[in-house]
């Protein structure tokens, strides 16, 4: 069925596509790191007993979760240069958009993880004389993080897939590179099929890891 | 009525039932007891095909349970079962719980099913609770609804799987009373329970199981006064001396 297609277009442009993949992976890695740190802080704010913190985090999370990622990318592509008064290029504005956007999603995962630990654990920790922060740091968070590792991994896979959306600001990630080659050489079928397969292999690996971790967590 | 011959069952390589044979005649009440993990629940779940078994044969009213060609839903519709944790359908009222199988399996009309259900609820003392959902009832009440649900199918026999083990102590008797009344009416019953008072009152025989085997199958009086095996003696001494 695919025999009359020209797969050389892929091999001929492998270096170009590879550069795109490096950018995709780099953007994903930075966004994951930033999103997780942000998400952790936001989750602590969200669960804080100091109301203004909790309200701020609630509004932040629900605002970002109500709008499409593409709109957020547009927002920061427009906003960052205006705020800084000089052009910064699509990479940094996309990175900021991803970190702030993912912070909201990681926050919800981490919050659910923390709330999933039985209340008795906190009570027991406090009863032994630990402070609330110590109890969180040594008793609650370690258990919560272990339980939510599979979901965090799944979110990383989702984030990696979402990096393809930088296409809308023509940042040259893997997807955009594939599409550039596709339209330049008019090899749409070949390039998009190839892109789909590459993403599928990487994301299946990530999903399998998540499932394995899930299984291991469930066994405990 | 229920005939089990040389039934053996494995979970993987672990054998849960070893060569179990037991026979229950029409109108007989049998109590099955034994330590936890002895296979008693598994045995009665084999009797209506809820658990498959690998060897031996079970026949209910002459119909083989293990036979692939047997229409299991039809066979099960003729045997009532009551579970340890009630297993009432939480999204339905008590009345709807009782009416579901008569309507969908026996194709009775709603009016007919409801009339019968109300009669049964009255009989277990819960007519006022017909429109409540299970979560609004106490454990003892839920279990009585579950008994009514099983009776609504006009079963030829009833299986009870530890019907009082999940109940608070003060609720056990309300359930046992219903069961005693049922036994006295001549219902064929197989009851997995540790309620030895119930066994003494209505059981014709007691079957004692341990490690997947039927160790003893004796008339009730004999089982209590003169158990034939050391294991049964040990078990009795543990549960009776409180």
């Amino acid at each position: 069925m695919f025999t009359h297609y020209d797969w050389n277009a892929i091999t001929a442009n492998l270096a170009f596509l590879w550069d795109g993949m490096v950018l995709s992976l780099g953007l994903a890695a930075l966004a994951i790191a930033g999103g997780m740190v942000g998400g952790m802080l936001m989750a602590l704010l969200r669960l804080s007993s100091f109301k203004p913190f909790a309200i701020f985090a609630y509004l932040y999370v629900n605002l970002f979760r109500a709008v499409p990622l593409i709109l957020v990318i547009f927002w920061f592509y427009f906003l960052v240069p205006v705020a800084l008064g000089r052009p910064v290029g699509p990479f940094y504005s996309a990175l900021i958009a991803f970190v702030l956007f993912e912070t909201a999603y990681y926050c919800e995962i981490i919050r659910a993880g923390i709330q999933g630990i039985p209340r008795g654990q906190m009570a027991a920790a406090l009863a032994t004389g630990l402070s609330r922060w110590q109890a969180m740091r040594h008793i609650i968070l370690p258990q919560a993080l272990r339980n939510m590792t599979p979901v965090l991994v799944t979110q990383c896979v989702v984030l990696f897939q979402d990096t393809s959306l930088v296409y809308v600001v023509t940042l040259r990630d893997f997807m955009t590179s594939a599409s550039i080659v596709a339209s330049r050489d008019f090899k749409l079928v070949e390039l998009y099929t190839f892109a789909a397969l590459v993403y599928l292999v990487i994301c299946l690996a990530g999903s399998s890891l998540a499932r394995y971790l899930q299984h291991r967590t469930a066994m405990r | 009525m229920i005939e089990a011959r040389n039934v053996s069952k494995w979970y993987g390589r672990f054998q849960v039932l070893r060569d179990c044979s037991v026979s229950i005649a029409r109108g007989e009440v049998i109590v099955v007891c034994g330590p936890s993990g002895s296979g008693k629940s598994t045995l009665i779940k084999c009797m209506n095909g809820l658990e498959p078994f690998q060897q031996g044969e079970i026949a209910v009213d002459g119909i083989s349970v293990g036979d692939k060609r047997t229409n299991l839903p039809r066979l099960r519709s003729r045997i009532g079962m009551v579970f340890q944790s009630f297993e009432l359908y939480p999204h339905m009222t008590a009345l709807d719980n009782i009416c579901l199988a008569p309507e969908k399996v026996l194709k009775r009309s709603r009016a007919e099913a409801e009339a019968k259900a109300m009669g049964l609820l009255d009989r277990v003392g819960l007519a006022d609770h017909a429109r409540k959902h299970p979560a609004q009832l106490s454990g003892g009440q839920q279990q009585r609804v579950a008994i009514a649900r099983a009776l609504a199918m006009d079963p030829i026999a009833m299986l009870f799987d530890e019907p009082t083990s999940a109940l608070d102590p003060e609720m056990i008797n309300e359930v046992l009373d219903v069961m005693v009344a049922l036994a006295r009416e001549g219902m064929t019953m197989v009851v997995v329970t540790h309620e030895m008072g119930f066994a003494r009152k209505v059981a014709r025989r007691v079957v004692f199981m341990d490690e997947g085997q039927i160790v003893e199958d004796a008339p009730t009086e004999q089982f209590f006064t003169n158990p034939g095996s050391d294991r049964a003696q040990l078990f009795l001494s543990k549960i009776l001396h409180h």
């Binding site: 069925m1 999370v61 629900n62 605002l63 979760r65 109500a66 709008v67 499409p68 990622l69 593409i70 709109l71 547009f74 927002w75 427009f78 906003l79 205006v82 008064g85 659910a112 897939q161 959306l165 296409y167 997807m175 599409s179 596709a182 749409l188 079928v189 998009y192 099929t193 789909a196 993403y199 599928l200 994301c203 299946l204 999903s207 | 779940k45 209506n48 809820l50 299991l72 839903p73 066979l75 099960r76 519709s77 045997i79 079962m81 579970f83 297993e87 359908y89 939480p90 999204h91 579901l100 199988a101 969908k104 399996v105 959902h133 299970p134 979560a135 609004q136 649900r149 099983a150 199918m153």
Partner: protein, 242 residues
């Protein structure tokens, strides 16, 4: 930071009309794709819980395939690749005669993709129904389809109402990807206003507010639905869908 505010741009033509039309396209895509995803996803989710091996395998393969390829890539596959790999006549029909090709493709793509998410929810909902209820249904003589119809599905779907709400909100937001194949939905319109007027702040704020308001409306409606479906005494209100 120098920026010339002009909120008036939002209520002047043609920009107001663009926002309204964009909102309509967004809602149209989201609703149609959701109907498709809900139907297809429920079937696949059910298939994944049946005891029939090949059905389960197919369901799993579907979910894994659609969840592990970025939605943008799927959009391009449906739009650019799919008509090419069809038999020649069909491909020509898709390219020439398909009504509203961008819109239709977007709906199909989002429908197929979201179905994989719905299938996962349905499966987990069905698996969350306690196994004992299944046994109770079997013991009552219900057949497997009847058990699904009266016990598993009503309970399973109740459990996943909040997750389904977030899946609907996801397809609502994901409809923005339709802009990559040229549908002028809400996000695309706000970008277009920015391009024409350089009033990005106002344009994106308008789109953001519209997304938030619609999300809020959906959440309020679904909270009502959830409360209405809630079984008395059971399954307390879970965390909000947002």
């Amino acid at each position: 930071m120098s920026y010339n505010w002009n909120w008036g741009v939002l209520v002047s033509e043609p920009y107001l009309g663009w926002l309204i039309s964009g909102t309509q396209w967004t809602l149209a895509i989201a609703c149609l794709a959701w109907i498709m995803a809900f139907t297809l996803g429920s079937l696949i989710g059910i298939a994944r819980t049946t005891p029939i091996g090949p059905l389960r395998w197919l369901g799993t393969a579907y979910v894994e395939l659609f969840r592990n390829i970025p939605l943008l890539v799927q959009m391009f596959l449906w739009f650019f690749v799919f008509p090419e790999v069809l038999p020649r006549d069909w491909g020509r029909w898709v390219k020439r005669d398909l009504p509203m090709p961008e819109f239709t493709t977007a709906v199909l793509c989002l429908g197929f993709y979201t179905a994989s998410r719905v299938a996962e929810q349905v499966r987990s909902g069905l698996n969350a129904v306690p196994k004992g209820l299944l046994a109770a249904g079997q013991a009552g003589g219900l057949t497997l389809p009847q058990i699904y119809r009266y016990i598993l599905l009503p309970l399973g779907f109740r459990i996943i109402v909040p997750s389904l709400t977030s899946d609907f909100l996801a397809v609502f937001k994901n409809s923005s990807l339709a802009l990559t194949i040229g549908v002028m939905e809400l996000t695309a319109q706000s970008r277009q206003i920015e391009n024409y007027t350089f009033q990005g702040f106002e344009a994106f704020t308008a789109a953001t507010v519209i997304y938030c308001v619609i999300t809020a409306i959906v959440v309020v409606i679904m909270t009502r639905v959830e409360a209405r479906l809630r079984v008395p005494g059971l399954l307390g209100r879970q965390q909000g869908a947002l």
